[in-house]
Symmetry: C2
Subunit: 153 residues, 2 copies
């Protein structure tokens, strides 16, 4: 199995210093580019309303990672389901993914809303949201996922 090694292209700055499950909606974050990335890499991103951020849950310890099924949020009221049918952080490769609102660009800083990552989180990629890449047709999802998301934003 060939290992894939990546360098953070930036880091998150915001007021949330420790992992929490809920109430992410009001937090404004800044992604500051890493030194090896030119500020021009962000040029034009503010002509898009939204972006997708791929980040790394660097606080998750190896022994917490689930490679099979578990109760969502370890809540036994919900049936066990696969880690790839959940979005929780204790997952193989520890990748996070958020669709954020682009607020503004300032040099090497991208200001965004709706990023559910804590201060210091390494960022691996930033992509513009295009309508053509959005889900086609009706989005179907199970009830537990709506319950889980109740207080998320």
């Amino acid at each position: 199995m060939k290992t894939i090694c990546l360098e953070p292209i930036g880091f998150v700055r915001n007021v949330r210093l420790t992992p929490e499950d809920d109430n992410w909606g009001s937090i404004v974050s800044i992604i500051e580019l890493a030194p090896h990335i030119e500020p021009e890499a962000l040029l034009g991103l503010d002509t898009f309303s939204h972006a997708e951020i791929i980040f790394y849950f660097d606080q998750v310890k190896e022994d917490k990672i689930v490679t099979g099924a578990r109760h969502p949020r370890n809540n036994p009221d919900w049936l066990k389901i696969g880690i790839f049918a959940q979005r929780g952080k204790n997952r193989p490769n520890r990748l996070g993914l958020a669709t954020v609102k682009v607020i503004k660009l300032e040099g090497r800083e991208l200001h965004i809303g709706n990023l559910d990552a804590i201060n210091g989180t390494p960022v691996l990629d930033i992509k513009p949201v295009m309508q053509e890449f959005e889900p086609t047709g009706h989005i179907r999802q199970p009830d537990w996922s709506h319950q889980l998301m109740k207080n998320y934003w």
Copy 2:
């Protein structure tokens, strides 16, 4: 800068053997889980209509990677913009991201539509699409991005 090393959680199988820009819509792909992932990791994913796939553009050579701005698809008719305001493959960390249709689960195999990755591509993560993580409000994007996407699917 701390390097982040990841292991593929699966690999893509489909009929597209070399990178191409357009006409991805008709391709059905299978993601086959890597040996260190239990098949239970996919349990329940078929209760969702869509999933997000994070993958690795392993065919992209180091010297093709853009860390600043370029013309989208290197087409001089479009203004230079930042690599993070584009979704092309020649990007730092070579990460791809697709929103796919879940067709069916078969043991260690996930069958999907609308994955724009070629045969053999390493997969790094699979996440279920939940309405609560979709973009909020109107999606705004520049004209060039609509033109670029014209024959994509």
